[in-house]
């Protein structure tokens, strides 16, 4: 079954054949996958989806599966179909009565990046590429290294040298060539663009495979709708680095609506950034349609993209759907990680802290209706960014090993409480 027709420039509309390209040669706009919608309408049904595997590949007919690809040759560690859970205690703390969490910390390498990597590297194999590569702020590095190892591909991962130690170790463990670059993410990304233009065998998931890669994020939106019983939520709050995930969640809801898999109903999408790297939120709040690149300075390293490739499209989506954008400080991010963990038992990395802190800010500002069904996307696991909790998550009591000491320690606690 082949639903992919080619690639098309999002800006000028020029079409090109499927291949390892991501930028329009004419106007430099990003290329996007074009599907055979008639064919999709015939084969994609609720029944066909639910009969599929419990992973993002249940939506294979809505993804850029290239001609001739078989399920056996997919690069697949089981990403996707993560839990969508109600969050009543966090909701109560924020004054929201119908709050849900999309818990993407439970992917194979504990972030949503496994979705996009599985889709991109499956396409890379079909394009005859032999080396999996990426520019990464950390989560993507782990995911590419793991998926390459698990499918027998060579890999090479480029990261900024100042990444959290846990992310470095959790990438190196997979035996990849791990290149630490003395520069920030935007420097690394530019370097990867240069390498990618030199060698066709190298598949940079977020450079020359970006049209395929980005489509993987749609599966977050597909799953949210399916898991809500084939209904769209009223509001989604998502973190923004390049802005791509937010844009693709919106695209997923549009595709499900057009295919008749859900009833047509309005939805809003809001975007979350860290104040130390908030080029998209800043443009939104100042009402301008131009994004000024910034030099990132935030603990939320997984969102630290100063020159966001999909920023314009994220602005378009949030304006069109009537959502909002906000940004939050580093202390607010740490507090939000604690709040989420302590109310819902979900431990998020800094990007999740950004999302929850922005959720709180939007709720307090009346930009989320207390009764509307709201989903917050928790995109990565807290063990990836432990240093941000330094001094904030410690033993509450330290005692000698006696019963008396135990009782008096807890009694003192109660008096103070």
């Amino acid at each position: 079954m082949n639903v992919v027709q080619g690639l098309k420039c999002r800006e000028c509309g020029r079409e090109v054949a499927v291949g390892p390209v991501h930028v329009c040669e004419f106007c430099f706009g990003p290329l996007e996958v074009v599907y055979d919608h008639d064919r999709q309408r015939r084969v994609v049904t609720r029944e066909a989806i639910t009969a599929g595997p419990p992973s993002l590949w249940r939506y294979a007919d809505l993804l850029p599966v290239l001609p001739g690809a078989t399920p056996q040759e997919r690069v697949d560690l089981g990403a996707g179909f993560t839990p969508l859970v109600p969050a009543p205690r966090l909701g109560a703390a924020l004054g929201l009565r119908d709050l849900w969490l999309k818990n993407d910390t439970l992917n194979p390498t504990n972030s949503f990046k496994d979705r996009v990597v599985s889709v991109a590297l499956s396409a890379a194999r079909r394009l005859g590429m032999t080396t999996a590569a990426c520019a990464s702020t950390g989560n993507l590095a782990q995911s590419v290294a793991a998926h390459a190892a698990g499918s027998g591909m060579d890999s090479c991962v480029l990261i900024p040298a100042d990444l959290e130690e846990a992310k470095v170790m959790a990438t190196a463990v997979y035996g990849t060539r791990l290149v630490a670059v003395d520069g920030n993410y935007d420097d690394v990304n530019r370097l990867c663009g240069e390498i990618a233009s030199e060698d066709d065998d190298w598949g940079f998931v977020n450079v020359n495979l970006r049209p395929y890669y980005a489509e993987g994020s749609k599966t977050i939106g597909f799953e949210i709708a399916e898991q809500l019983g084939w209904r769209l939520p009223a509001h989604v709050v998502a973190p923004m680095a390049s802005g791509s995930m937010l844009v693709k969640i919106d695209k997923a809801f549009r595709e499900f609506t057009q295919l008749g898999l859900v009833d047509d109903a309005p939805w809003r999408i809001s975007g979350a950034q860290a104040t130390g790297c908030s080029p998209i939120a800043t443009a939104f709040k100042s009402g301008v349609d131009a994004i000024r690149p910034v030099r990132p300075d935030t603990v939320a390293k997984s969102l630290a993209i100063g020159d966001p490739a999909d920023g314009y499209y994220a602005l378009d989506v949030v304006h069109r759907t009537g959502g909002a954008m906000e940004d939050v400080s580093d202390p607010e991010i740490a507090e939000a990680i604690l709040l989420l963990a302590r109310t819902e038992g979900v431990f998020a990395e800094t990007a999740g802290g950004v999302t929850v802190a922005v959720l709180a800010k939007l709720a307090a500002a009346g930009k989320i209706d207390p009764d509307e069904r709201t989903v917050a996307v928790i995109s990565g696991h807290g063990l990836k960014t432990l240093p941000v909790l330094q001094g904030r998550a410690t033993p509450t009591h330290t005692i000698v090993p006696t019963l008396d000491a135990f009782h008096s320690a807890l009694a003192i606690q109660e008096v103070h409480a």
């Binding site: 106007c27 680095a241 020159d307 490739a309």
Partner: protein
Amino acid sequence: MSATIRIPTPLRTATGGASTVEVDGATVGEALAALEQAHPGVGERLLDDNGRLRRFVNVFVDDEDVRFAQGLETPVQPGSTVSIIPAVAGGC
């Protein structure tokens, strides 16, 4: 009274291989119009049908992004360098 326009590699097919082009023009818009006159066809790669700068084309006058100055009305001083830089369409 001329300024220098720096041409990025992917656009040099439209400038006969030239990496820089000397033009006359008091504003970015005039400089780009002069570039189009010298090398017909390059203009539509930079400006859309409404004559606006395309979203993934960045133009700098010396070190200032014209989007944060006066756009195509941004003044070009004699001896200035106008750099055309495609956006880096990559990343997470």
